[in-house]
Amino acid sequence: MKGPRRGFPLTALVLGLLVVPGPAQAGTFALMFDAGLRTMSNSPETEKAIFDDQGGIGFGLGLSYDRGLRFRFGAEVRRINRDGERAFALDRTSEAFRLGHPLNFVMTQSLATVAFRFGKIGPVSPYLGVGFGFVSWREESNTAGVIDQADGTSGLLEGRLGVERQQGRVRLALEGGITFVPNAIGVGGISKVYEETDLGGLFVVAKIGFSSR
């Protein structure tokens, strides 16, 4: 299955920002890197069966633009790479048995974001944001030398709450939230057994970045 190009929202935002006529006082750009735990808690049994843990480490890159004091627009791309095993479960209420055949699952999430920034509370500024975009995923497993592959692309919706602090041009943030990727899985494999369809879940990430001012 061929999905939309992963870098589209980021590219679109950058181009958009370049063509938008600037106000008398230009906004602030920032380039942010993030790393943190991203789970598939919306499909907990599937996650436990395949990965035997909750959450994998994801890394991301984003570009944001602050318009005035309250609103921030951005685009982000992140990649989550997880290793697990093929498994089997009798039905949705049953224990899963892991079979030892290695399985690698990679998700690339691309999304556009908008956030509302609250006023400063002490040294930090809280913010609330939403994101929308898409996820491209790819599953690959190896059973005694024979590779099985599956991939797909699905829409993504995300809600997040974070706090940030800026010192000079360095911006630090801690962010948590939940991602929804409905109807991405569930037509086959262990996700079908557990009748789970959502690749999203809770996440918590730390961010560091550099702003233009």
Partner: protein
């Protein structure tokens, strides 16, 4: 080609003649091709032998399960009061097999026991018998392994001695003991201590041929340059003799054998993960059902052959809920003409059809494994080993048992999950989905061993 086979068979039969054994029952002699050690046993002759019935009158006996708290003295008094002549207590619980006094039959004795408050249940013992089929040798002649995709299966899993299959049958040629000899192609096969329900000792030696053939399907030594191949050949075998030299046994005997397998411990753990029952009868038994339930509760997958009468329903124990009932297909994946069927049928495996040669190897399409010559065995010789083509659901069931052992080794511990995985990955034959002729279809071991990915 067909004429050549028939001519060769005719020559072979005339050369060997018909060998009278035991109670006047007859086997055709072996040798399809001279001096290659490959033999065929004619199923029709086995059927004649089976038609004679068992030597022991199992059906005249009664199984009695006493309630908790009933000690041996109380049980003995009850047996005497009910009219029992002799009683044998199970080694594994308060279950007795009682023979009636002269002039009393099993049903009236059963009724007397049922009227006693100390008795949990009582039932007439039932007769079961081996699902016979003939034999032969060598990997390139083992067409059944190609039908189930064995080579790809072995890439994934070959079994392990930590996982054992209990073969409840006529015994296995697994040791040199008295007149019995270990079969030559069991050189690398691991055996657990056996149990003989007739002698109540550890010597589960085969005095028939059937059990050795069944055990060889599961774990004949493989990749050793000789003989034939076994499916789960690195798994261990536990030989349990529950059928006599004629291939007959009783529900109580099978229950006893199952209890032995369930309660066995080695280093504090029970390596038995599968019980194979290539046998059956028409009598439903609470004692046997209970023993099977205990086995499944203990995490042991129970597999049984459907029966070779082309009738519905399948025989017991295959018909019990907790048992995987296995029917037989030929080399075309068509239901074998003898394979019994019905609502309880779960899966199919290649059991062959001795009248066909679908792979064109010039041999009848039986399942080829090592065992000894049944004719010689009937004369008290158990060392005349060879490779025999045998057909029947008895040959299909151990293929499913072997796959269950491989799945257990792969990491699946729940018998229900093992059954479900085999069913979901089976090749659908006959009507779409599950049907009474093929169950869920033909096992596909490599697909089952793969399990499931996240999304596919």
């Amino acid at each position: 080609m067909r004429k050549r086979i028939l001519a060769t068979l005719g020559l072979a039969l005339s050369g060997w003649g018909l060998v009278a054994i035991g109670f006047g029952l007859r086997f055709t002699g072996p040798a399809v091709q001279a001096d290659d050690g490959v033999r065929v046993v004619d199923p029709s002759q086995l059927a004649l032998r089976a038609a004679k019935g068992p030597r022991t009158d199992f059906a005249s006996r009664v199984i009695v399960q006493f309630k908790e708290g009933a000690d041996d003295r109380l049980a003995e008094r009850c047996v005497a009061d009910a009219g029992g002549a002799r009683a044998a207590r199970s080694a594994f619980g308060r279950r007795y097999v009682v023979e009636p006094m002269a002039g009393m039959d099993a049903s009236s004795l059963t009724e007397r026991f049922r009227s006693m408050s100390e008795v949990e249940y009582a039932e007439p013992d039932g007769v079961v018998h081996a699902h016979f089929a003939p034999n032969d040798e060598r990997y390139n002649l083992q067409w059944h392994l190609k039908v189930i995709g064995a080579e790809r299966m072995w890439d994934i899993q070959k079994g392990d001695p930590s996982v054992a299959v209990a073969v409840l049958d006529t015994g296995v040629a697994y040791e040199d003991f008295g007149p019995f000899r270990k079969a030559p192609d069991f050189g690398g096969t691991v055996f657990l201590p056996g149990f003989n329900v007739f002698t109540r000792d550890a010597h589960a030696n085969d005095d028939n041929f059937h059990g050795t053939h069944v055990a060889s399907i599961i774990a004949e030594a493989t990749n050793n340059g000789i003989g034939a191949s076994g499916i789960a050949y690195q798994s261990a075998i536990m030989p349990v003799k529950v059928l006599d030299s004629e291939g007959f046994g009783s529900n109580s005997g099978i229950a006893e054998g199952i209890d032995y397998a369930v309660k066995f411990r080695q280093g504090g753990v029970n390596p038995v993960r599968v019980i194979n029952l290539s046998l059956g009868g028409s009598t439903r038994s609470q004692a046997l059902q209970s023993a099977i339930d205990r086995a499944v509760l203990a995490g042991i997958t129970v597999v049984a052959s459907a029966g070779n009468d082309n009738t519905s329903p399948v025989e017991y124990p295959a018909a019990y809920d907790n048992v995987i009932a296995v029917g037989s297909v030929d080399g075309r994946k068509v239901k074998a003409p003898y394979s019994s069927f019905g609502v309880a049928l779960d899966l199919m495996a290649p059991g062959g059809d001795i009248r066909r040669d679908d792979n064109g190897d010039g041999r009848p399409d039986g399942v080829l494994q090592q065992t000894f010559d049944p004719g010689s065995a009937a004369q008290g010789r158990y060392d005349n080993f060879g490779y025999y083509f045998v057909v029947g659901t008895s040959e299909a069931a151990p293929q499913v048992s072997a796959l269950a052992a491989l799945l257990a080794r792969q990491g699946i511990k729940d018998p229900k999950a093992i059954q479900a995985l085999m069913e979901r990955t089976a090749e659908d034959l006959g009507a779409s989905g599950r049907d009474d002729q093929f169950g869920w279809g033909l096992i596909r071991p490599a697909e089952a061993l793969k399990g499931l990915g996240l999304s596919k």
